[in-house]
């Protein structure tokens, strides 16, 4: 811990009253305009219908040019160890659908295409979409929770490179290597990960998108059903990745989509050059994904309701007035606390949506 400078101390003291003022103002506004907080801040990604074929092997296909786009800010993952990420500050997402399939593209700026994991300290760029695996639930965006699983589709730059250039051998990785031979070469016992069916070990991949399920931190599991298609390409210092899958595969545990209904989707991006992997990633919380035009009032309350959202119908005017009265008292307490510690004023849930 570095010693706090006097400037930082001053800032801390100013921050508390400022926060209180903001809170009071927010409470009054809430009361006056009868808006539901948080819910109103959640952006909506609308999938547009398309009659043109959407190629899954060309992320930069022209079909995407007219699709509505949404910029979704990302933040470093700081909910569960290992913390990390933050190198990618936002993604631009687009979505299309046709009678059979849902397509989502995700695009972000990245100065290096990190598509090799051959080196001991080399990590791959990657991107993932996360959906609720149970249409009746909105799980925590933090990898779901027991009983509220999430279905994750992950694209990895290294799998893209495998497909385009082949799985690198030792001599690909180190051209001057000489090896007389490998005893037991070809015997699967000597590559135990492959022998045990670890999905990371094979040299070829059924799809460039891995279909996964999770029910909380540390539970990520590759699924038997690998039915997500897609690919990514790096162009002009930007990655764009397209994901495609049948709208409703009819299999338990897989995300399912219906036209003119709302689903939820969250995003994560890994920057290999920053050492991102696993929980070390830039993340966004769930946003709503409308598959075509949706009559919002009819569906939002009974279907997707992201964590932290609040039911409509609460008498906001009254609540606003009560908060206006109570908050100054809380402020006094806050000021006392801030003299000793003001290390973390923001909540992670709010931080994600700051521009």
């Amino acid at each position: 811990m570095q010693p706090a400078t006097s400037t930082r101390q001053d800032n801390r003291r100013l921050r508390a009253p400022a926060a209180v003022l903001l809170a009071v103002a927010a409470a009054v506004l809430i009361g006056l305009f009868d808006v539901a907080p948080v819910r109103s801040q959640i952006p909506i990604l609308e999938a547009a219908p398309t009659s043109v074929a959407v190629p899954t092997d060309d992320a930069w296909a022209t079909v995407w040019n007219d699709a509505p786009s949404l910029r979704v800010p990302l933040s470093a993952q700081d909910i569960a160890f290992p913390y990390g990420g933050g190198a990618v500050d936002a993604v631009t997402v687009r979505s299309l659908y046709d009678e059979e399939r849902l397509y989502i593209s995700i695009e972000w700026a990245d100065h290096s295409a990190d598509d090799s994991v051959s080196g001991a300290a080399e990590f791959s760029d990657a991107a993932a979409l996360q959906f609720s695996a149970d249409p009746l639930k909105t799980p925590p965006y933090t990898m779901g929770s027991p009983g509220a699983p999430v279905n994750i589709w992950q694209w990895k730059a290294v799998w893209q490179a495998d497909a385009e250039r082949g799985f690198p051998s030792t001599t690909d990785r180190y051209p001057n290597t000489h090896v007389d031979g490998y005893p037991g070469e070809g015997n699967p016992l000597y590559n135990p990960a492959a022998h045990l069916g670890n999905p990371l070990a094979p040299r070829t991949h059924a799809s460039l998108i891995e279909n996964l399920l999770a029910e909380g931190f540390g539970t990520l599991t590759s699924l038997d059903v690998q039915d997500v298609e897609g690919s990514g390409a790096w162009r002009n210092d930007r990655w764009r990745v397209v994901f495609a899958r049948t709208l409703a595969p009819g299999i338990d545990g897989l995300a399912s989509f219906e036209t003119h209904r709302t689903a939820v989707v969250a995003f994560a991006v890994w920057d290999g050059a920053s050492g991102d992997r696993n929980g070390q990633k830039s993340v966004a919380q769930f946003i709503e994904l409308d598959i075509g035009p949706v009559e919002r009032v009819a569906v939002t309350d009974e279907q997707a309701q992201p964590p932290g959202t609040t039911e409509r119908g609460i008498p906001w005017v009254a609540l606003g007035l009560i908060l206006s009265a109570v908050l100054p008292l809380l402020a006094m307490a806050a000021i006392v606390f801030y003299r000793t510690d003001a290390s973390d004023i923001g909540q992670p849930a709010q931080r994600n949506w700051r521009h």
């Binding site: 590559n191 022998h195 990371l200 992997r277």
Partner: protein
């Protein structure tokens, strides 16, 4: 985050998981004073487990020349430096030994687990580069200073020095690799405390590589997973037909021509303390005699490979590497007790793991002077017993000598 007791530190410390002690713990004692760095251990391991594509730079067992050598390069000084940056000047020990459960005193500094929280990780660490893994025996035999060329050397401490450090996975009681894994793909076996990476669940995140301070999990680009020393678990289980079901020492231990290694299993209590078992040769050397010390105990993982420190090396270096017990350990080694003289004969006399020993008194055969103190040598007999209580081996302190009769003088 749980609070666990680490006897090597003489205090409680932070760890990700609650204590869950195995019934037996894999442990070994290495005599650095006798190692000749022939690398037979290294090659035995290599030719048994890591001879496949993608494992070319993988040496689960290695012997490096200290202080300059290291595999991966600088592994220890880098982690020591990270600790120092996290807690400048704080890595100190209290002088007072606190009884059998705090034999080296109490560590007052930061462990890698303490320091990890400040960087948003379970433990402090770093990921070595390809270049650092590339030269397993770099700086072989490189000494500190060239003074000996002109002046020669004298004990107790050499001005010109190096020594060999034999390293494999420590199968720690609080493994940093295990706590680092976000997928819980690493586990410590209940039956022998051996720490393994589940090759089915591993996704190659290399958090274990980053956070093991000894850098013994290694990444395999060929399978895109991390692998590590498996403690030759089939041998320790007794699956090898040679010992007919009895636990057997690992490959690296069993091949040692210098007879510097003794490996076995120590019995554990449910609370994580060692069962009082002074007839177990490992327990005796580590806990009774305190002749063998853990490697960098201040990291906090409670490693289970113990070393007789090299007696000619400057003590501050040894205290940093083996903790404050270094002086006592050297004293115990250079003038071993009568019982210890017998137990030291058990190194590398059997492939079967010795679970207990017995000493039968013999005649006094010599009396010598060690650092101004008298040391009596008795030709006692030591008997090693296996898990089933049956005798495995019987040796004497004085190695028997035989004179070849004239008629066989030139025969083999």
């Amino acid at each position: 985050m749980a609070n666990v007791y680490n006897w090597q530190l003489g205090r409680d410390m932070n760890y990700r998981f609650d204590p869950a002690a195995p019934t037996w713990q894999f442990a070994a004692v290495f005599n650095t004073n006798r190692c000749l760095a022939c690398q037979t251990c290294t090659m035995a391991c290599k030719s048994t487990w890591t001879f496949s594509e993608g494992q070319e730079d993988m040496w689960w067992n290695n012997v490096e020349t200290k202080p300059y050598g290291g595999y991966p390069r600088h592994w220890d000084v880098k982690t020591l430096d990270l600790l120092e940056q996290a807690n400048p000047g704080g890595q100190t020990w209290s002088e007072d030994a606190g009884g059998p459960e705090a034999p080296y005193g109490s560590y007052e500094g930061s462990t890698i687990f303490d320091a990890g929280r400040s960087v948003g990780q379970h433990a402090l660490g770093y990921t070595p580069t390809d270049e650092e893994w590339a030269s397993p025996n770099i700086h072989e035999d490189s000494p500190v200073s060239q003074g000996a060329l002109a002046k020669g050397v004298t004990l107790p401490v050499h001005e010109t020095w190096f020594f060999y450090l034999q390293r494999l996975c420590n199968h720690c009681s609080y493994p940093a690799c295990l706590s680092a894994c976000p997928r819980n793909a690493i586990y410590k076996r209940e039956e022998d405390g051996i720490v393994l990476i589940d090759q089915e669940r591993c996704r190659g995140y290399r958090k274990c590589v980053e956070q093991c301070p000894y850098k013994k999990p290694m990444y395999r680009a060929d399978s895109r997973t991390s692998e590590k020393c498996i403690g030759c678990f089939p041998r320790v289980e007794g699956s090898d037909p040679l010992t007919e079901g009895l636990p057997m020492e690992t490959r690296c231990m069993a091949v040692c021509p210098g007879q510097i290694r003794l490996q076995g299993l120590v019995s554990m209590e449910a609370d994580g303390s060692w069962t009082h078992d002074p007839d177990n040769p490992l327990y005796y050397l580590i806990r009774e005699e305190q002749m063998a010390l853990p490697l960098y105990p201040q990291f906090g993982t409670s490693p289970n490979v113990y070393y007789f420190p090299p007696r000619w090396v400057p003590r501050p270096y040894l205290r940093q590497m083996f903790g404050p017990g270094a002086d006592r350990a050297i004293e115990a080694y250079v003038r071993p007790s009568r019982r210890a003289q017998a137990v030291l004969q058990l190194f590398r006399v059997s492939q079967s793991i010795i679970f207990s020993f017995e000493v039968i008194d013999g005649e006094k055969v010599n009396e010598i002077n060690v650092n101004g103190k008298t040391m009596e040598i008795f030709n006692d007999t030591v008997i090693g017993y296996g898990r089933d209580g049956q005798e495995i081996v019987r040796v004497t302190v004085i190695e028997p000598q035989f004179e070849r009769p004239d008629q066989f003088l030139n025969t083999i």
